[in-house]
Symmetry: C5
Subunit: 356 residues, 5 copies
Amino acid sequence: MLKKFLHNQVRSLGLEPGAPIYTGEKSDVDVMISAMRFSESTYEEKKGLTIEEALGLIQKDSLTWINVDGLSDSLLIQRLGREIDIHPLVIEDILNTSQRPKFEAFEYYFFVVLKMLFYGTNKREFNAEQVSLIVKENVVISFQEDIEGDVFDALRERIRTNKAQARKASSDYLAYLLIDAIVDNYFVIIEEVGEKIEALEVMVINKPSPKAMSKMHYLKQKMIFLRKSIWPLREVVSGMLREEDGQIKDSTKIFLRDIYDHTIQVIELIETCRDMISGLLDIYLSSNSNKLNEIMKVLTMISTIFIPLSFMASFYGMNFRFMPELSTPWGYPALIIAMVSVAVAMLFYFKRRRWL
Amino acid sequence: MLKKFLHNQVRSLGLEPGAPIYTGEKSDVDVMISAMRFSESTYEEKKGLTIEEALGLIQKDSLTWINVDGLSDSLLIQRLGREIDIHPLVIEDILNTSQRPKFEAFEYYFFVVLKMLFYGTNKREFNAEQVSLIVKENVVISFQEDIEGDVFDALRERIRTNKAQARKASSDYLAYLLIDAIVDNYFVIIEEVGEKIEALEVMVINKPSPKAMSKMHYLKQKMIFLRKSIWPLREVVSGMLREEDGQIKDSTKIFLRDIYDHTIQVIELIETCRDMISGLLDIYLSSNSNKLNEIMKVLTMISTIFIPLSFMASFYGMNFRFMPELSTPWGYPALIIAMVSVAVAMLFYFKRRRWL
Amino acid sequence: MLKKFLHNQVRSLGLEPGAPIYTGEKSDVDVMISAMRFSESTYEEKKGLTIEEALGLIQKDSLTWINVDGLSDSLLIQRLGREIDIHPLVIEDILNTSQRPKFEAFEYYFFVVLKMLFYGTNKREFNAEQVSLIVKENVVISFQEDIEGDVFDALRERIRTNKAQARKASSDYLAYLLIDAIVDNYFVIIEEVGEKIEALEVMVINKPSPKAMSKMHYLKQKMIFLRKSIWPLREVVSGMLREEDGQIKDSTKIFLRDIYDHTIQVIELIETCRDMISGLLDIYLSSNSNKLNEIMKVLTMISTIFIPLSFMASFYGMNFRFMPELSTPWGYPALIIAMVSVAVAMLFYFKRRRWL
Amino acid sequence: MLKKFLHNQVRSLGLEPGAPIYTGEKSDVDVMISAMRFSESTYEEKKGLTIEEALGLIQKDSLTWINVDGLSDSLLIQRLGREIDIHPLVIEDILNTSQRPKFEAFEYYFFVVLKMLFYGTNKREFNAEQVSLIVKENVVISFQEDIEGDVFDALRERIRTNKAQARKASSDYLAYLLIDAIVDNYFVIIEEVGEKIEALEVMVINKPSPKAMSKMHYLKQKMIFLRKSIWPLREVVSGMLREEDGQIKDSTKIFLRDIYDHTIQVIELIETCRDMISGLLDIYLSSNSNKLNEIMKVLTMISTIFIPLSFMASFYGMNFRFMPELSTPWGYPALIIAMVSVAVAMLFYFKRRRWL
Amino acid sequence: MLKKFLHNQVRSLGLEPGAPIYTGEKSDVDVMISAMRFSESTYEEKKGLTIEEALGLIQKDSLTWINVDGLSDSLLIQRLGREIDIHPLVIEDILNTSQRPKFEAFEYYFFVVLKMLFYGTNKREFNAEQVSLIVKENVVISFQEDIEGDVFDALRERIRTNKAQARKASSDYLAYLLIDAIVDNYFVIIEEVGEKIEALEVMVINKPSPKAMSKMHYLKQKMIFLRKSIWPLREVVSGMLREEDGQIKDSTKIFLRDIYDHTIQVIELIETCRDMISGLLDIYLSSNSNKLNEIMKVLTMISTIFIPLSFMASFYGMNFRFMPELSTPWGYPALIIAMVSVAVAMLFYFKRRRWL
């Protein structure tokens, strides 16, 4: 997982700053551009556009959301950037998929990078994709690494059916809606992780095994990854709340405060998960040491009872010619009584020590 | 416990922000509205009201406290919000019962979310309910998840009997009284937890068992939950102290400072509890390792004394035809003397090593 | 110890804020009021006063120090508060003996709560008492929980004998002198604890036993208590240093800076003690595991040497009719040589592994 | 590694502050000065210069980058400092190679110290060299400890080939490019370390051995070193971002913000690595204790089954004359049945305890 | 070590604040006053002065450095304080040798307390002495606890030989030089400690013994002491940097920034040392548990191989009359084959489990 973070970063080594190089893994994905344009009364949706077609849709009296799936064609992205007059470093950040979540305000637009986490068709592992948003006055452009799935379907549906306020919105509010959809999905991911932790808890308490240990390790690493992806979000949202050039309207900021609260909540949940995992580790280790104690107790009891008895038996198995006990008739029963006494004394001793 | 936090959050996924959806567990609880209206000289109390009846009670020269128990009927809550002109996000926050405690000031009212913790009829587990307060000039509206029990009975009684200052108060002071009642109950909860920790301490010191370990784990999780519920309170109260639009009067702020002190105290107590639990874990682990040492000592002593003796016995149990010792009359007594010497030497060695 | 903190707090549950209820343990202590009035040239001391007598002593041109021992008669304290026009919450704080140390400035007076720690006649355990100070222009009123002993005797003596500057002082400087006496005693307490830690260190290094573990636990809890009592002092003193209404004179603030330094020093000493205790725990655990290793080494060596030998002896103790070795004359000496060889080889092996 | 940090520092003990003494290890390296001068249209590169030649290259309308390899000749460096009017303490800092990374702005120039980490020809260990930059209006002077290799080759090539913006740049932008090259290489180092951690993870999970432990220790120390070298970078860059005298242009600051992001990312990666290593330690210790448990289980099972059986065998190996069992024909088969029963009972017991 | 800190503090208990009592250990040291007076062109040095002689040396156009060794004669120090008009609390701080390092600015002078650490003639333990500096316009007065040795000899020599800038300096620069000498010596101390840590590392990795553990403990305590002594220095120097009344010149502040950097470096080194020691503890504990595992493996292998064999031997040592195996000629060789098979099977089992 660490590796994934790193080798992307390294690929762009030695290049001019602002050089547009896609550093992600999905280099064989075709770029696909789709767009929605809508105002309170009108609505239009198009797919498979070229850059020029997409940018041509932008109009003053309506809001256009252009979604770019796939970042492998870095030249195309760079051209798009030039067309709408974006700083080269922003284009580099869009293409560098190991970017840390951040918010940057420029004169005519602002730029947000986030990590989108969601369960695709394969429910076992969540996908992690970088989503970048460029928000200008009448247009929001979103960039995703992959075509397959995102977390915006519910939002698209709400726009199509003109429910509630989505269509009335300005571009900053649309950006809010996109970020909100991403943050909401964090809860799904953490719920899933939380369920795994609870399953693990049952396992550790009932049947601690090395397998539980490796699962703990796996979850811990997952939490490190989640923390890394989500933690910077706080700064992103508080950066947006502090934005003062009017690109983000006060009415939108009320909603962003809501996201801020959610972000704090997600971060707290992650910390809680970490606490719980390390609590499980304590239980695991202590139950391990309990098991060792129990094993040792059994061994010790068996040994301690039988070792003296075995000695007595061996003793009278000696072949000395002159052993008077051997030839008397009471020798054998006397020894048996002695043996039983020793065993009972030992058991009594264990009882008193609370080992039984 | 984590699960409880999470699945509520997830239920509202994909909805319009501000959509009023109750996310709590008690969805089968009827909504029940009651109200108290009082001034220094007058007093009136009503139960089982409709929204319109409750809001109709509000008058300029007296203070009305409307209490809403049960949040399952989200449309009703939403209608109430519209009637008194509350922001939709506030209504969403009231209905979302996994809300983090917070304070938000709006132009004509302020909004507080808290966690109410209290022991109900069943004394073994405390209940956790979200309480939301909307405070306007002449009215305080409180929202609770459940009808059964709250921590405000003593306050109600004081209002009824016109004791001290409760009736003279403005709406912000009434809000303070409600928050104070909630915070006071935190001490009850922590006292209970503290008693469990001390009982556990006795148990761990006297008879450390795996059961103690699982109790420790349980208390640790409880502390994580308490911390999560109470920690944000500090920000809530300090936010109220910083409020500067005059909605919270300076005379009330003196009392809020008192709550602030209590909050710090509660948080410190929680930290103390955590410290004590982790101290117990240390004791538990070390007493576990002591027990292992003790067991091993017994095993080692028994083994070390008898293994050489057994060897000697086995030795003279061999059937070689030519073993001169076997046929001499002093062979047997000499061996016994040798065996006693070995045993005594061993015991002396243990004594010197302080194992006895 | 935790319990003590808590059950006091809980007793006042459900009461009107500002309700004067004594929450301490010493409810059977009589209230005793004494007073000293002095200026540079005059000096007067009285004991067993009533409130009215005590307050009657206050004069413009001299400084009066009224000391109230015992808080059980809460109505009396409340009356005193009303007489000198103190906010009801302050009276509540004086009576609530689980108060966190704090400083609060009001218009005509300021209020300080501290924990006084000192060794009484019984040197084994230190006493912890809450001391509250109300400081007005010509009078300082101090409240203590108990009559028996405090840390102000040296100060009283200095006032009586008119040494140095005590008598020339204003009320804020007298308050400083009282706080200084309390803080100085913290060093005595920590020195005592430090000596116990060093005694424990000797014990843990020389003869680690479960008793050492429980002593460690005891000291750890003591440190938690001390930390809780002393830590807030920093805020108290820095609050006094920031006071800007002239109630605390600049000349006094120079001395308060000195107390501030002492407070930081005390806090650092407490942290040092905590570090040392946790260092001891490491030593204890590691010496425990060393002991286990040593025990196991002895067991293993004895077992490993004698188990093969015993097998050989048992082998030739078998009763097969056709065992040629048994009937040859060199069988017995050959076996003895073999046994010695095995034993020597084993010892050599242990030597090489550095187990001997 | 610690030693390396320290003995350099100590060498300059007792000297006048600002005394130019090289404290590094590479005291036998010749000083070698090279320079590049370029503007958008012109380009010139020279090697093996004297100080005077190098400084003579500086012109108003072009940018000169002077690179000094080797710091052993402290007098020469001192002379260079005097020629371009640099504060003596800056010269001391350049020569003191255990300097902490820092940024300092003076009236006509600013000064940056960084740690350059890179893999040389020997890929097993990265080199750590101190790089100091003095940035004036038309010139950037960089100081390196060693001639062999640096991380600027790609940059030099870009300048030579006049690619992109390198040549158009002002001196502050060139400084940015140098810092950027250094920071980019941190990712290479951490990627390498990350790969070692992942290899170690496989090793610890599959075959935990003391060797893994010492590797963990080695990596941990490496991380301490990296953290020490890189952590202060954050302050360096944020210091540059706060610089307000116009030495660092706003257009450059946009790029520095980018470096700042990278720095945060590097620091987070280092923390992640530390987390992972300490996670590995947990796994290692727990798998160690698992192994012990497993070993003990085998020993206990073998012992517990055979010790009673051996006792029974010894018992009937006794030589009492009167042992009726010995002479009955069913004695032998009965004993065999008894032995099998005991063994089966034991196995059944283990089965129930889940030891098998 | 803790004790040393404390009993000094306690000795002054119950005294008037500002009461001049020497609390150090070296109460039998005579006070010895020496002075150097110098300007750029003149130089004078005197020893064994009285207070009056020393103060008489002060002149307007030159700088006088008065050094006071030995603090036992507190009245003398107090008299000195009065002569040069120093606040009584400053005199108390000079005499209280468990003072925390601090910086305090007064109207006509400033006051600095530091801990001087250095190796005396006995190289095994470093000395720790408190050094106080009073800096007025034309004079610096330094107070040391002991006559024997300090860290200023190199500085004295530089002043005598008029090297570099020492003589040109103002009193604040001279104070800087003194502090610089003290801080430089911290590196010597930490280098020494660092070497001990590395020696310990070798010891722990190669031959972990309880002795290593107690050395670790010793070093850990040393680090606690060093941290306590050096940590406050950061505040001291940053306090001096913030001083704004012109007592510390801007030209000196540039040099103080250098000390600030060094202080940060020392603190980081101490933290690094602490990290390394706790890393060693991990290694020690894990190698301890490795050793236990290894011992147990040997024991288990020996036991597991021989216990079944011994049982077989005992079995055929039984004296039943009817044991057909005993009388057949193939019985003995068959048993030997069986025994060898069992041993080989066991060894094979261990091999597969990777215990060999």
